[in-house]
């Protein structure tokens, strides 16, 4: 019953995957299994995995079918689908603890679909429902077919190594809508607390909680604090393997602290994919038209992709160059092998052609790796090509440049952007305008009218802007921190872009080889930009809380409440806390929405610190800019 042992170098994703692997191995200790393969022979190797939608999202964002197979899962199906019996194999159920799911399980066992059941609820099953489950099992004489019942605390999704989503859409709307009643808000807060509790359990840690006063974050903080206290009292061994010295800070914030990152036009690879290709749960679907037929190709971007891990948070031009370098490296390696074997290409490679076992060994081990590398690079090429097209069509580079210097723009510059028919979709223009609107101090009424007219004339609907007007004063108070500017670390001067023309020609050549032509103009038109990285508002807040002496924003965060589940006293007064305490680990959760831009910004800041900080970032839901715009529009 022990949790994953807290290890300060483990990311949330590594710990999350270990928990999932344990689940797939019938909750045996996976480390022991690996040490002694004979240990396996006591338990069934092959099993069927049944999940609901939430279980499916949790698993599919970090594991592929191959990994499931490696752990003995032969078939995986949705609990609501019509399923056939498979004899002599047990079933692992990974579902939410609901009455409906419990009835499905009992129904399956009554029909004898599987040999037995290992039931793993994604969150804690309430005692009353567990009792009902037992009652149903007794009535149907199926209790002897149930081997295990576990609370897995895995009802959230991990997107990147330290980026989680609680998969609760519409939280921003619920909190800020005047029509939300108390019961709805209460349910939303409770769901948020349940899922955030699962994240904390997975991390195996008891954080100190900080949040601003008088906000939804405070409601969540209080409930979570109580939940942690209760859990510590009732199940003492759950957190028993903790290192008591490492206690991270859990920072809870409302989305209204800074709305800008949610709609910013960003230049990093992952933010661009999310914005232009609607990446969802690490999956991207690209449409291509071939001789009139539209075909869809889906790609997974996850931790096993070495190129993605290295380039996700890098600016797009740098990523393009890196793709080029990797392709060159691949070609050199492939040529080396084919040269030695005498084959003209890897497809004709024949192991028998080698007489020297040294080369044979190198070739045999390299061949699968080369094939996998080629597939990966082809995928990134396709993705990069699609992004380039979107940048060209929507002039995303112009928007990015303007938003980077948004306070320096005058009325004519803004109007010319809004009225330019070729530049961006109406959504892009509205996003840009809202960012400017939130960044400046005052806007004369006549000017605002002119802007609104220009927006309407260009197809924009002003609902999102109307909402922003309402919350502008609140947001502007907390956005003070976002004007801090720091140069990006290790920037190699102009070297990266000194050879932009060679970059564009190399990249064009690759596209030609890949059969994609006519993109010279696209690349030459795309501006070459590496921004100075600014600390986002949330990054500044996190800095001031983790390292109080170093930040100018400390005054704003001094009044944040403090909750310590381990403390015997019930006070939330920040004055009781040691103001000089420095934290090296933090969990940041934003209620109402999060995105890759903020995540990337936090990660960059954390890496630069000495010693480097470890930050886990997440939110109730991860939304693309257009999704968040729709949510704001629904609140007008």
């Amino acid at each position: 019953m022990s949790l994953a042992i807290s290890n300060e170098t483990s990311t949330l994703r590594e710990t999350h995957i270990r928990s999932l692997e344990k689940l797939l191995n019938l909750n045996q200790n996976v480390d022991e299994l690996e040490k002694d393969p004979n240990y396996k022979s006591e338990f069934p190797i092959w099993k069927v995995l049944i999940f609901d939608k939430s279980g499916s999202d949790t698993i599919s964002s970090v594991m592929r079918i191959t990994e499931l197979r490696k752990h003995g899962v032969t078939v995986h199906m949705n609990i609501t689908s019509s399923r056939q019996p498979i004899a002599d194999v047990p079933a692992i159920y990974f579902v939410q603890p609901t009455e409906e799911n419990v009835e499905y399980i009992i129904d399956d066992l009554s029909k004898g679909l599987y040999e037995s059941a290992y039931v793993c609820f994604s969150s804690s099953i309430p005692r009353s429902l567990l009792e009902k489950f037992a009652e149903l099992a007794s009535k149907t004489n199926t209790s002897h077919m149930i081997n295990q019942v576990y609370d897995q605390y895995l009802n959230y999704v991990v997107l990147e190594s330290d980026f989680f989503s609680l998969q609760l859409p519409g939280v921003f709307h619920t909190i800020h809508s005047p029509s939300s009643d108390d019961a709805l808000i209460e349910n939303t807060i409770q769901s948020t607390v349940n899922r955030l509790f699962s994240v904390i359990v997975t991390l195996g840690t008891i954080p100190i909680i900080r949040c601003p006063q008088g906000s939804a974050a405070e409601l969540v903080a209080r409930k979570l604090n109580q939940r942690l206290k209760d859990h510590l009292m009732n199940t003492k061994d759950v957190f028993g393997t903790l290192n008591p010295k490492i206690r991270p800070l859990l920072i809870l914030l409302d989305r209204t602290v800074d709305l800008v990152p949610m709609i910013n036009h960003s230049w990093t690879y992952q933010a661009l994919i999310h914005d232009t290709l609607n990446m969802h749960l690490n999956r991207v679907i690209l449409e291509s038209v071939d001789e009139g037929k539209v075909s869809k190709q889906s790609y997974d971007l996850n931790g096993s992709d070495y190129f993605w891990e290295a380039n996700a948070n890098k600016p797009f031009p740098e990523v393009a160059e890196n793709i080029d370098e990797e392709l060159t490296r691949y070609k050199n390696d492939a040529n080396e092998i084919t040269r030695r074997s005498g084959a003209s290409s890897l497809e004709e490679f024949n192991a028998d052609a080698f007489t020297d076992s040294t080369y044979l060994k190198a070739a045999v081990s390299l061949l699968p790796e080369l094939t996998a590398r080629k597939q990966l690079l082809d995928m990134h090429m396709s993705i990069a090509t699609t992004i380039l097209k979107a940048i060209k069509e929507r002039h995303l580079d112009d928007f990015f440049q303007m938003e980077d210097n948004v306070t320096g723009l005058n009325k004519s510059a803004i109007l010319s952007c809004l009225e330019d028919k070729d530049k961006g979709t109406p959504d892009d223009k509205l996003r840009f305008f809202i960012i400017w609107y939130l960044s400046v101090d005052t806007v004369p009424g006549a000017d605002l009218q002119a802007y609104e007219e220009a927006l309407v004339n260009n197809g924009c609907s002003l609902e999102a802007l109307n909402f922003v007007k309402r919350v502008r004063e609140i947001t502007k108070m907390t956005m003070l921190a976002s004007s801090t500017t720091r140069p990006m670390a290790n920037q190699p001067g102009d070297n990266i872009f000194g050879g932009f023309s060679s970059l564009s020609s190399k990249f064009t050549d690759r596209f030609k080889e890949a059969g994609i032509g006519g993109l010279e103009n696209i690349i030459s038109g795309v501006k070459n930009l590496i921004p100075f990285r600014k600390d986002g508002t949330i990054t500044s807040i996190v800095q001031s809380l983790m390292d109080p002496g170093s930040s100018s924003v400390s005054k704003q965060t001094e009044s944040y409440l403090v909750f310590d589940p381990k403390a015997s006293h019930a006070s939330s007064d920040p004055r009781g806390m040691n103001k000089r305490q420095i934290f090296n680990e933090a969990i940041v959760c934003v209620l109402g929405g999060g995105n890759y831009l903020e995540y990337g910004n936090l990660m960059d800041w954390a890496k630069e610190q000495n010693p480097p900080k470890h930050i886990t970032y997440g939110s109730t839901d991860v939304q693309s800019p257009s999704q968040f715009m729709n949510e704001m529009a629904s609140l007008s």
């Binding site: 928990s19 393969p37 092959w46 078939v75 081997n147």
Partner: protein
């Protein structure tokens, strides 16, 4: 995570269910009914056994000495414990035997998996294609069941091939390490027999014509005998290196074959799984449509019934009037 199993069975007990016949079950592995699955477990246990043996014998296998004390073991190599095997010292012949035995086991597993593969293909060919109006009359549930079973068996075969690939890769690495060490010894011996020319000639060569001046006749004979012995040993090592090289090449080819099968199996398993899921989805969708249609048709049937009854009554009435 938190284990709620005891709490669950506590509730079961409260419901007056006899818990004595209902212990926290160990999964049933001994009496697997399905022949395919039973055979798969046998293959799996063989592979695990071989894998464990290779881990235990690794130390003795890679040791440089060539002394044999295998007769001291009371049991066959494969059955011996880690402690016994770690004290063992093997000669090259025994190492070759281990290679041969391991390769034989791997080959037999490849063949057994091949025969399971054939059984699966036969099963798959018996699934009728979902084309033609006649197929629509056959039970869709039966079709889905067959496809699900085929997808399930295909994943089992993938697992076995993956496991086999890992163990053959371990064997390959062991042999490769042995070969490299043998080659290193060969290089050292080669250096001894043919030392490099140095600029400082003081301790180096003595011309052959002047040898009798430096050594007595007996010493010369002794040196020649030593030289011959070293040459023989060198040639023997060369032979061993070549033999190991051959078995290495063989295991590499086996490894390539298994990897190819694995990648084909992966593609086939994914396709089978997708087919099974598509059919299952179609069945679910079709069932929903049937339920809707049933409710619609029952209403329609009632309407028609009343309509015809009324028409019949009207006709009767008209007939009477007329």
């Amino acid at each position: 995570m938190a284990n709620r199993t005891n709490e669950f069975f506590g509730f079961i007990k409260k419901g007056n269910v006899d818990l004595e016949t209902l212990s926290l079950r160990k999964p049933k592995l001994s009496n697997v009914q399905d022949g395919f699955l039973a055979e798969a477990y046998i293959i799996h246990n063989t592979i695990v056994h071989l894998c464990t043996f290779l881990e235990k014998i690794r130390g003795a296998y890679l040791k440089g000495q060539a002394v044999s004390n295998v007769h001291k073991l009371s049991k066959p190599l494969m059955e011996s414990s880690l402690e016994e095997l770690s004290k063992l010292e093997l000669n090259d012949l025994q190492r070759d035997e281990i290679d041969h035995e391991a390769s034989t086991i791997i080959n037999s597993c490849v063949q057994k998996i091949g025969s399971l593969q054939k059984k699966l293909k036969d099963k798959q060919s018996q699934i009728p294609k979902r084309t033609g109006w006649l197929q629509g009359l056959k039970s869709p549930e039966k079709l889905t069941k067959s496809e699900t079973i085929v997808a399930h068996c295909s994943s089992i075969l993938w697992y076995l091939q993956n496991e086999l690939s890992d163990v053959s890769s371990s064997l390959y690495q062991l042999q490769d390490l042995r070969l490299r060490r043998a080659q290193e010894r060969k290089t050292i011996m080669s250096d001894i027999l043919h030392p490099q020319q140095t600029s400082d000639m003081s301790s180096a060569e003595i011309p052959d014509s002047e040898l009798p001046n430096y050594f007595s006749q007996e010493q010369l004979v002794q040196l020649e005998q030593d030289n011959d012995l070293m040459l023989q040993e060198f040639e023997h090592t060369m032979q061993q290196v070549q033999e190991t090289g051959k078995s290495l090449a063989e295991i590499a080819r086996l490894q390539t074959e298994i990897s190819t099968h694995l990648s084909i199996q992966s593609t086939a398993a994914e396709k089978l799984y997708e087919d099974a899921m598509n059919v299952a989805d179609s069945i679910t969708g079709g069932n929903r449509q049937l339920v809707h249609a049933k409710s619609r048709s029952s209403r329609t049937a009632k309407i028609f019934f009343f309509l015809f009854t009324i028409l019949g009554l009207v006709l009767l009435a008209l007939d009477r009037i007329v």
